[in-house]
Symmetry: none
Subunit: 131 residues, 4 copies
DNA sequence: GTGGTCTAGACCACT
DNA sequence: GTGGTCTAGACCACC
């Protein structure tokens, strides 16, 4: 299946990061499977009205994180899933991401219950790994 | 009405953050109403024996968040809009932040249960608003 | 101590990668220690006659790999060393890098003995971790 | 002499690259000598159960690099060897490639001994030119 | 056509 | 001043 991108310019989350996030979520949700092609850098840039460099940067980070593979002159494809980071680093990164979310939640005046509810709802939608 | 600041130097929360919090709380509690003037950066700095930069930083953050307005040549005032973000804007921003966390979690191969547990643990540590 | 960069433009190794390599080697060799500042993006760009974006990209990759930390508005500093990757990923990356070297060596018609000698010589110069 | 291909599908290294590498290494190791014939694109594709395009792509790259020659109506042969690069150019390129490996090794927290061992092991696997 | 690199120059936010 | 992001447009290599 393909993937529908939704970009919010001028947000606190940089555009390239929004692209990264949406690809990672689509892969996690099974909307994109190993070997599936992604739109080309230029196509996606045109579609989202972005500079190709911005899309290329997003794809570059995904490649470096082992989420996708790029075959020169051919295109970009979803890679086979692997565990990339050591346990310590994994915890550290999760903590950073978590603090980022909670900081934003506090700024938006979310209560703890609202945060839990939002996380639950979105988790059901994207359907991460079961165990 | 005016506002009484209570600053605790050497605390874990940075001083500028204490100022931000107290202004935000005073506005939320109705102690400061729309259009009320705040002390100028210089006078507040003198009053609290703080570096003017510290106060300026606090005010800057409040301006960025739409809590206060600075009117050129006049001073600083509580902003006209109370709820800074309309509900949809609030949801949109939370949604973006949430996807950032979940995409990181997916990349780190966290299960849904692990994410929930991590969120719960951190929520208990940081407190957040009760409801 | 500071660090002397040497850039070879028009090489097969991209310029930003050369910067990345030299920082990582300098850190490994102890020429750069935890907390040491690196030159600013703009300074280094001017010094090496590169576009600031190219330097920023190199620094960005080093940040993502946990080699350096950037403090907004303050500068870039050598991070505390940590083991970032899981064992599998560590082996995989080493294999890739190794095959890259040997492929280049084969293309340059190096014998096995020449490769070993070159590796030994350079290892002594940079002085990796002892054990 | 002929050559036995060993293809690992689903690996991080693309299949065509595996073919390229193995031909290059076989030539470097002397298993394939100047003038030796290679299997045709069609027969090799059948033998390895690959798409002919994949093999053609690999051969194309090898032709461009001057490792093999395709003689119209006859087949594909190991090219007559030539030293492509002057000695200093050779050293300069090798030095850059070497630094790439060692910087990656440093980032992965490999010790000098581990690097030597890894190089040795891989050198034995691939052979390379004897002297 | 594809991805990858680099330059130039702009704007933002933090110190 | 600092780093970070984005756009625009160029050039290269591979297919």
């Amino acid at each position: 299946m393909s993937i529908e991108f939704q970009i919010t310019p001028g947000s606190a989350t940089p555009i390239y990061q929004q692209v990264v996030d949406q690809v990672r979520l689509a892969v996690a949700a099974g909307e994109l499977k190993t070997g599936d092609p992604l739109p080309s850098v230029r196509t996606l840039a045109e579609q989202l009205v972005l500079n190709p460099n911005t899309v290329a940067r997003a794809f570059g980070e995904l490649v470096r994180d082992g989420v996708i593979e790029s075959r020169h002159g051919q295109g970009v494809f979803v890679a086979t899933k692997r565990r990339v980071f050591a346990d310590d680093e994994r915890d550290r990164r999760m903590s950073l991401a978590l603090d980022g979310l909670l900081s934003e939640a506090a700024a938006l005046d979310f209560s703890a219950a609202e945060v839990r509810a939002a996380v639950d709802r979105r988790l059901k939608e994207v359907g991460l790994r079961k165990r």
